[in-house]
Symmetry: C2
Subunit: 174 residues, 2 copies
Amino acid sequence: MLGLLALRGGSGYGYDLARDFEGRAGPLGEIMHLEPGMLYHHLKKLARDRLVVTTVEAQRGRPARQTHAITEAGREALARWLQEPVRATREIRLDFLLKLYFARQLDPALARTLVAEQRRVCDDLAASLTTQIVGLGDGDAPPDPFPRQVLDLRLAQTRAAADWLAAVARDLDA
Amino acid sequence: MLGLLALRGGSGYGYDLARDFEGRAGPLGEIMHLEPGMLYHHLKKLARDRLVVTTVEAQRGRPARQTHAITEAGREALARWLQEPVRATREIRLDFLLKLYFARQLDPALARTLVAEQRRVCDDLAASLTTQIVGLGDGDAPPDPFPRQVLDLRLAQTRAAADWLAAVARDLDA
DNA sequence: ATAGGCATGTAAACCGTTACATGATTCT
DNA sequence: AGAATCATGTAACGGTTTACATGCCTAT
């Protein structure tokens, strides 16, 4: 939400933001879905938390439009969120893609450091998983293959993410 | 829940089932966490849906123990769940691992077909994603790299899952 | 005439997390 | 004496889904 408002120069209204989440059409529709009900719910919450301020503008022949403007606290929260890589590999599919989408358009330099940081996180995780896999053989008796397979899957997913991040980094520099 | 009861010969009680979810110790603690509150909540729901029947046994010096036994409908629901591959790649990390865990112990032949079916699903998805990526260059004007990157990530994750499934299939045959 | 766009929401149900309550017993 | 184990939950809170409600305007 805050990112979308920032892209619109700091303010916008619900119905317009909702278009970005419409299946296939909007740029975010590809990666997530957000029903109008939830969208308005989040805007209310942002207003409660003072991250946006809401002003109502009457329109003739149309329902009143509520314009939500990002506040200084909102910009800080957004900046904090944008510079923080995600901790778990499964969050890359959603959280990280969103961060990347906004960082690229708001601040290309930030996008580069974000990708670099995320790569570090993934590489560290991959290393830790590798250590754990090697350590599995230690307890002498029972080689139940399941824990091994669980770690193998996590490693495969994390490596795939790391490789993809490398490609994205190349793309950003080009 | 139903899988755990089946592994215990058809019945069990909450406190005992909870041990399987304890961090690191229980076999499922590695892949998911389930607080006692939620576990009892799920058992209540299963009882409401007639997938288990609950009987209370008093014990001296201990709180009464509630034994939950899987019903015929419960076994059918479990069998249906176990033979169905997951549709989305992100569900492999949790849902599919759980299916695999139970299928292997309850019916090794089922585990093989489950893995085979899941591979088909992943391969189909990978093919579809590849087609979509190729199709992106078609609209002449604007090569915004973002949609391409989104699809690349999905393809990378799906391929990683497919490769892992191939390794698991080899493991099951060995 | 009717379908769709504009613009906002509410309601009900479900899912999940965290923390706490109870109260006896056995281990250290 | 104090901690852990046994065994069951409740309470409070927040997130999410799905469906529906409202009412006017514009285009076909």
